[in-house]
């Protein structure tokens, strides 16, 4: 067999790429106010380094990575911090999260930028640099790249380094445009990844509906040995597992990592930001966002992080009549937003305005066990079984059907003739299972603390008794009693033991 090696299932969706990919990337403007969330990545939220009133320069770190799986956050322009508080963020809940709000001073003045020579750096220092530059996966998953740039323990050496330029979501074109316009810099970023990971081969997967991007990447890769591999246009070819299968015919084990089969996968836009950080000392403060759908002039914008969705939509000529819903991400995997007042984050690959005409939601009917969902599932799951168990809230059984291998691609919901919102069930079930797990951990903590308290009370009781006996007239006290009491410490103040117990617990 020759590549590409098809993955199971998937869909041919109606494409809407040309709406937004005919124009070049529109350079971003500097809005008066930027709201920069401190949580723009998977892992621990960044710790704020500034407070209201502070002056900041463009590119200055305003949020420090908190631990290994975390990433820094930087000021997208120069100005004054007006608040560090909870603000609306692009999240399906509509709940606020910690943000740094910056009022621009209009000067857009950079902090001193210090490029590094990655070839002479210790790998660990380079990864730290990458974490401090705020580099995360820009395909939408926003996983800190520094973590993925470390193979230690998982495999000796990487077989394939895969660059993901598939971009299979029907409306999204931000990766298409960045490959067309910035291919040389993407390839420079790939050099850094290849230097660190030492792969046997470098494969760049691009869906074959992007001939311009393929040509640009081919030109930029000439002489490097990196292979640009067009893959058939079939959703979800851009899923890391699906693209890996397409390009290498390899599949990671259930619950396994891609490095178990010697593969690591990065988005093309991530490679671009990696190059900007290393070679120019520029941290991640902007990203390309596709603004499309029911919009006057759909387009890609190089937007500063923290700009509001409304700003970007205004720059594209505003909404067209009759917008019913605003989605971040694509129609298949994206989330509806509660307002357009939320800021662009590293996860904002696409802003899609949906008109009423496209929002027909036919009534949900009972499952007829047609098996269509099984046919299309790219993760080789049994979606209708998952559905039955999620519906019945059977959270043990649903895991026997590998709920957590579901990539929430939406293929099953898309084809279901009964219009059952299958993915919503899977998201619900995953959340419930995580919550139960957390609850269990909390209960275990409480159990241990209660036990520690009971033991302490018992000990104090014994000590009190010993002391009483010691105070009693000597003729009734046996020599033994006196000895124990003499060794026991003086009774502490009433409240003190609690704090001691707390300290002991915490230092564990």
């Amino acid at each position: 067999m020759t590549p590409p090696f098809p993955f199971h299932g998937g869909l041919k969706t109606v494409r809407h790429k040309t709406e937004s990919n005919r124009e070049t990337i529109l350079p971003g403007s500097v809005p008066e106010r930027l709201v920069v969330p401190l949580r723009q990545h998977v892992g621990a939220i960044a710790k704020p380094l500034v407070q209201a009133g502070d002056r900041v320069l463009k590119g200055q770190m305003i949020g420090q990575p908190d631990g290994y799986v975390s990433a820094a956050v930087h000021a997208p322009t120069s100005g004054r911090v007006v608040a560090v508080d909870q603000q609306p963020v692009p999240h399906p809940s509509g709940l606020p999260d910690w943000c740094v709000t910056i009022e621009s001073d209009g000067q857009d003045r950079w902090i001193e930028r210090t490029p590094v020579d990655y070839q002479r750096m210790h790998p660990s220092d380079l990864r730290n640099f990458v974490r401090n530059a705020g580099v995360v996966g820009l395909g939408g998953a926003v996983f800190p790249s520094a973590v993925k740039m470390n193979l230690s323990g998982h495999c000796e050496r990487l077989e394939q380094l895969i660059l993901n330029g598939a971009e299979c979501e029907p409306w999204m074109t931000c990766d298409d445009l960045i490959m067309r316009e910035r291919a040389v810099e993407i390839v420079a970023g790939i050099h850094i990844l290849a230097h660190l990971l030492q792969p046997r081969e470098v494969l760049i997967g691009i869906e074959d509906d992007k001939p311009e991007a393929i040509a640009a990447m081919n030109a930029a890769c000439s002489g490097t040995g990196y292979q640009v591999r067009p893959v058939p246009t079939r959703y979800p070819s851009g899923g890391a597992k699906q693209l890996t299968k397409l390009l290498t015919n390899k599949e990671a084990p259930v619950n396994g990592r891609s490095t178990d089969i010697g593969v690591q996968c990065f988005n093309v836009a991530t490679a671009y930001t990696l190059h900007r950080a290393v070679a120019h000392g520029e941290p991640v403060i902007s990203r390309i966002v596709t603004v499309t759908g029911h919009i006057a002039q759909p387009r890609n914008i190089d937007a500063l992080l923290g700009s509001s969705f409304a700003d970007l939509i205004a720059r594209c000529g505003g909404y067209r009549e009759g917008v019913e819903r605003l989605i971040m991400g694509g129609p298949m995997m994206g989330f509806a937003m509660h307002s357009d007042g939320v800021p662009v984050t590293k996860a904002t690959n696409c802003i899609l305005a949906v008109g009423a005409d496209a929002l027909v939601e036919p009534p949900v009917m009972p499952c007829i066990r047609c098996g269509d969902c099984v046919e299309v599932c790219p993760a080789n799951l049994l979606p209708q079984q998952l559905y039955w168990h999620a519906r019945a809230k059977e959270f043990d059984k649903i895991q026997d059907y590998h709920l957590f291998s579901c990539i929430e691609c939406g293929c099953c919901s898309y084809v279901c003739p009964s219009h059952i919102p299958l993915v919503q069930y899977y998201r619900y079930a995953k959340n419930e299972i995580w919550a139960l797990e957390k609850e269990k951990q909390r209960a275990e903590l409480a159990r241990r603390r209660h036990q520690a308290r009971m033991e302490r009370l018992e000990r104090e009781q014994r000590e009190r008794e010993a002391k009483l006996r010691q105070k009693a007239p000597p003729r009734t006290a046996s020599p033994l009693d006196g000895a124990t009491a003499g060794q026991s410490p003086a009774e502490p103040a009433l409240a003190a033991p609690a704090s001691i117990a707390v300290n002991v617990e915490r230092s564990e």
Partner: protein, 185 residues
């Protein structure tokens, strides 16, 4: 004479082994009983005493000994009863309404302005989640508070109240799909 010696010796032996067995029963009872462990693992560990026992562990022991029913833990709720029923192979039953309703989880908050530093709440807290010293302001470690409410009553100035735990971006959950709930009904 021989007879008496034998009786005394045997009696002593029996008495000694009886004592030994009794001691062993007490000494190894708690650690060694897997049923109690498994029941305890299903209880919410709120340690509130609403079940009528000093804590979850004692309630677990009472259930194992057949002294308590499985529907006496309000914080565990109906889900908790179902889990116990499943473990013990019994039929689930409704929560005993006498012992209080099933409530959403809360956390205790001390109004630090009114606190007089009497330390009474510290003595009441079953998980040592309250910090403070005599005549100094007290505070609740929210992460460790189980929401048992045991600190409310002892406070002489009523400065402790329970606050619902509102969801944050990290605790928020997708809800059960509504469209389907309608279709299924």
């Amino acid at each position: 004479m021989m007879m008496i010696v034998a009786i005394v010796a045997l009696g002593a032996l029996a008495g000694a082994s009886g004592l030994l067995l009794g001691f062993a029963a007490i000494r190894f009872k708690i650690e060694g009983d897997p049923v109690v462990e498994r029941i305890d693992a299903l209880l919410p560990q709120t340690q509130c005493g609403q079940c009528g026992y000093v804590g979850c562990r004692s309630y677990a022991e009472a259930i194992a000994a057949g002294e308590a029913d499985i529907n006496q833990c309000p914080p565990g709720g109906q889900g908790g009863v179902a889990a116990l029923a499943d473990l013990l192979g019994r039929d689930p039953k409704p929560l005993d309404p006498e012992l209080g309703p099933e409530k959403p989880k809360m956390v205790a908050v001390i109004d630090e302005q009114s606190c007089i530093g009497c330390t009474l709440c510290i003595q009441a807290c079953p998980v040592d989640a309250i910090l403070g010293a005599a005549k100094h302001m007290h505070t609740v470690i929210a992460r460790e508070c189980t929401g048992c409410e045991l600190c409310l009553a002892p406070c002489p100035v009523d400065c402790i109240h329970m606050q619902p735990i509102s969801p944050t971006i990290t605790t928020w959950k997708w809800v059960y799909p509504a469209a389907e709930a309608r279709a299924a009904a």
